[in-house]
Symmetry: C2
Subunit: 239 residues, 2 copies
């Protein structure tokens, strides 16, 4: 249960009894100060040895797809209630060298601060990789990653999901920076602030930054409850 089934030696054996396999592969995005990152694990499956792969495992026979995605994510990150969104299912015949395995791709957004490395207490632990520095991945995982990145870019503009990547409390500049990095474009500071403020979905805190050698920024947090309420009343999130 704790292991990555695709990397389990028993997997080959299992396979012979199997017409189909269905796995969940999850692109776990994190945002660390300035960079968009993805959780990757080392793949020790034969043709892909020494390559990295996405977090993924086979779905159990008695397990709902959504539950599998949550379990797999929870196993790898030790985090519960993580933002998770299904993106696309990949099903070419030859995408897995050991048999016919469909992959349902999800992307997930975690606060890097919440995700603690166990530093070797778990074997083959996942690590963060800067998205711009990712080379060839195992299986068709480069394509899956690309597809999920595009899905994230779309999502982030029309739903307030970016907050999932930030700490509970953040500055407007951090938020703007997040958007700039994800979308790969520069945004105007004043217009960005106006836009986000007009939506009235941020809670302004009393505290500000301290120990910064410039004017300290105010802290804000995302008001999810208020957002849901405003959405019902017709608010359209757009950035």
């Amino acid at each position: 249960m704790e292991k990555n089934v695709q990397n389990d030696p028993k997997y080959l054996h299992t396979k012979s009894k199997m017409n189909y396999g269905v796995s969940v592969d999850c692109v776990v995005f994190g945002f660390d100060e300035n960079d968009l990152k993805v959780l990757l694990i080392r793949c020790d499956l034969i043709p892909f040895k020494h390559l990295f792969s996405l977090v993924g495992e086979l779905v159990e026979a008695d397990e709902n797809l959504e539950d599998a995605a949550n379990r797999i994510l929870c196993n790898q990150t030790s985090l519960n209630n993580i933002f998770l969104r299904q993106v696309k299912t990949f099903g070419t015949v030859d995408r897995h060298p050991y048999g016919r395995v469909f992959s349902v791709a999800y992307f997930s957004l975690v606060k890097v601060s919440d995700y603690k490395l166990t530093n070797g207490k778990k074997p083959n632990e996942a690590h963060w990789h800067e998205i711009s520095k990712i080379g060839t991945l195992a299986f068709d995982h480069n394509i899956i990653l690309q597809t999920c990145l595009e899905a994230l870019r779309n999502q982030v503009r029309e739903e307030p999901v970016g907050f999932e990547l930030l700490p509970e409390v953040f500055t407007i500049s951090q938020l703007q920076n997040l958007y700039e990095r994800i979308l790969g474009i520069e945004l105007d500071k004043r217009n960005f602030r106006k836009k986000i403020m007009k939506m009235k979905i941020l809670i302004e805190h009393d505290e500000s930054q301290s120990n910064v050698s410039h004017r300290p920024a105010k802290y804000y947090s995302f008001d999810k409850v208020r957002y849901e309420k405003l959405k019902k009343e017709g608010l359209i999130f757009e950035l």
Copy 2:
């Protein structure tokens, strides 16, 4: 090959050897004058006898997912090169009464004029059903239908896919009507024309309607090549 595998008596037998099954279920949309319609077949599987279901079959072991979707669609409609888009994969454990079957949902857009009923030459042929008059469907197909309808509503606004539902040659009013029916809202005639005309993705024909007891409308067709070119140059389709 020609049959619906889910409806094949051998299916039960097959199932016992199967850990997983993966099927494609396709919401085939058509637009007939004034109404958005969906192709449905009668389901003769035991707990769902006499209910309708979406067009769907199991994916073959040696068949790519996309190919399966095309094959299934082609079998049911005798049409090739149909617009097809993957929407979501449904994978609750109990969604199929005979075993664990994942379903990859697609929606597809066909010109009703192209789709000819064989009038009983094929057993259990699919028929058009008005979307507003669809009752309980087999399996979780009501949810799949709803999900695909929402996907269509989103797609149609940001990509020129609506044309797939119209004849090659159409009037602006027909196009507007299509949008109004799909989106369930009324649109202003003048503003709609301005918007669509400004994009310059329609070819104006010399012919007009004839035998209509009012001013005849001009015919247009969608210029796909031009659209692709303009898109590369930065055109954003939006309606």
